[in-house]
């Protein structure tokens, strides 16, 4: 008997694009397009249940099995290192994780580098691989103002167009890693709902190749 497949989608424009890919793959759920405040949508014909969650929470839903599959940014996967399968790069939501600082910044290796970021794990691993001594300052938002107020020397953050950085007189010094949306699967669900998950991954892969 076919079981209901639970899919965690990131709220927002990215999630809508991703849903369209799932729909084309044969896992449509028309009620999701209704204009209302519902968060869970189900289609008993295609045996699929979608739910909108905060983008940074998708990996948690999938790792803990509340969702069988989901779409999460590579930044979140690198930061939280969830125990999940990473099946596809969806080539959507493309940006990069970068080190930015004031335009006149010069790195003095004799001093501990003060790094402000929301992504402490990524920043720590990046500077550890370079053998650079750093002081991490964890912030939850408005990271760009940290170097301006001399709270930090550099920031590690996601850069899309670079407009926010420019407007705050900052510029990118190094790119740590390119970021895009990934299709992830819970390891146990991948075994017990293998047919449905493999079908979705194959159909979306075909769309990406086309």
């Amino acid at each position: 008997m076919k079981k209901m497949l639970n899919v965690a989608l990131p709220k927002g424009r990215l999630g809508e694009k991703v849903y369209n890919m799932f729909e084309k793959a044969g896992f449509e759920c028309p009620s999701i397009k209704e204009n209302n405040r519902k968060l869970i949508f189900e289609n008993e014909e295609t045996m699929v249940r979608y739910f909108w969650v905060k983008p940074s929470d998708v990996a948690i839903y999938v790792e803990r099995g509340a969702a069988d599959i989901g779409v999460a940014g590579k930044d979140i996967l690198l930061e939280y290192e969830p125990e999940v399968y990473e099946l596809l790069d969806l080539d959507l939501g493309k940006c990069r994780m970068a080190v930015a600082a004031k335009k006149d910044f010069r790195d003095n290796p004799q001093k501990t580098l003060r790094v402000a970021t929301k992504f402490t794990n990524i920043a720590q691993q990046y500077y550890m691989s370079k053998g650079r001594d750093i002081d991490i300052i964890h912030l939850n938002g408005s990271i760009e103002i940290a170097p301006i107020l001399d709270l930090s020397d550099v920031i590690v953050d996601i850069v899309e167009t670079g407009t926010t950085l420019k407007e705050n007189n900052l510029e990118v010094f190094e790119t740590i890693v390119p970021i895009s949306a990934r299709l992830i699967a819970n390891k146990s669900s991948y075994i017990f709902k293998n047919e449905q998950i493999t079908k979705i991954a194959e159909e979306i892969s075909k769309q990406l190749e086309a």
Partner: protein
């Protein structure tokens, strides 16, 4: 003494089943101290799932730790027996950091270790017991098995530098083929070799389909010995064939594990509940000449399977008063127990208590007094 069903929770029932299963195959129980010298873990940190350990200083000044792992203690405290086999099982608590809360958690583990002159039979027996352990928990279970010797042979044949091997192993564990291209391009691995690694990532299935595929895929590489070994082990297994799948996403640290590694999954539980493998390299590191294989079943996740919610806290409440004869209360409780029911004897019913039946010893007393009057 027969323990009544209601007195045991799901995990406890599983522990009894597993202990009986392992005893039947000649495994003897192994008891150990809650504490271990910290040095043991400091020297083998990579073998541990998490390197955070609860430590304290003992009265003699030695730095001690609450066990984060059982295998290391068993090896340390056992004799090296390269010419014979020792089989032990354990049922112990370990202390590890919980990923979600970032705080320490006590986890109940049941597992077994087989060390000494470990041969094909012993390996397949351990695998068979792993399958039976999963089946004892749920019929909907699968054991994923991989052979690190096959992966190491492929890496050697392709001259993959050691710094890239860990990254590639991580991608294999994530079934991540899209990022493999980038890493393989960085180390200048040609497309046909990259394609072989991708095919390994995508390989998953039973022995009948996967083994011939592997012989064919890796025919030009020096992997035959490892595939033969995997084939021999799986063909020696008794009746657990249907639940074993060969899948290379099960990887472990190659500095400790060398051949077979495996993980067990149960429908309804989001992560693996059983993990094991052959760790001859750890034995070497600990200056042992013998080989070793074992696995652990993590019981902390099993409460998610316990769907039989009790509709009451206790079957019967026996209410007695200040003047009730204690002997009457005691005999009433015994009578109820004889019927196989649970009973709470009290003067006042606690708030929110759910029960099926009430026995009022105060009323009985009054009635008896009236009858006697």
């Amino acid at each position: 003494m027969n323990t009544p069903e209601f007195a045991l929770n799901y995990s406890e029932k599983v522990i009894f089943k597993l202990r009986s299963l392992y005893s039947k195959c000649g495994y003897s129980p192994y008891r150990m101290s809650k504490f271990e010298e910290y040095d043991l873990y400091a020297h083998n940190k990579d073998f541990l799932i998490s390197d955070s350990i609860i430590t304290f200083t003992d009265t003699n000044g030695k730095l001690m730790a609450l066990k984060p792992d059982v295998t290391l203690s068993i090896i340390k405290n056992s004799k090296d027996t390269p010419m014979s086999v020792q089989k032990v099982y354990y049922n112990e608590n370990v202390y590890r950091i919980s990923k979600g809360t970032h705080s320490f958690k006590e986890i109940m583990q049941v597992g077994l270790e087989c060390f000494g002159d470990v041969d094909i039979y012993n390996t397949s027996e351990v695998l068979s017991l792993a399958c039976k352990s999963l089946k004892a928990i749920s019929v909907n279970s699968v054991l994923y098995i991989s052979h690190l010797g096959i992966l190491t042979s492929v890496f050697d044949a392709f001259n993959i530098p050691s710094y890239a091997r860990q990254n590639i192993l991580k991608l294999i564990s994530e079934k991540n083929t899209h990022e493999l291209n980038k890493i393989c391009a960085e180390i200048e691995l040609d497309d046909s070799k990259t394609e072989i690694i991708k095919n390994i990532i995508n390989t998953s299935g039973d022995k009948a389909s996967v083994l011939p595929y592997l012989y064919n895929l890796l025919s030009d590489l020096d992997c035959k010995e490892s595939i033969d070994e995997l084939s021999q082990i799986l063909n020696t297994l008794d009746d657990s064939d249907d639940m074993i799948k060969i899948d290379f996403s099960v990887v472990s640290d190659t500095h400790y594990y060398n051949t077979i590694v495996f993980k067990g999954f149960i429908e309804g539980i989001p992560s693996s509940v059983l993990s094991g493998g052959q760790y001859d390299k750890l034995m070497e590191k600990m200056k042992r000449k013998s080989k070793a294989i074992g696995f652990a079943v993590y019981l902390d996740m099993l409460e998610r399977l316990d769907n039989i919610e009790s509709d009451c806290d206790v079957d019967v409440v026996a209410i007695y008063g200040a003047n009730t004869n204690p002997t009457t209360v005691s005999s009433t409780v015994s009578e109820i127990h004889k019927k196989g029911l649970s009973v709470l004897a009290c003067k006042n019913i606690p708030d929110n208590l759910k029960f099926k039946e009430i026995v009022n010893l105060i009323e009985r007393e009054v009635n008896t007094d009236e009858e006697n009057a």
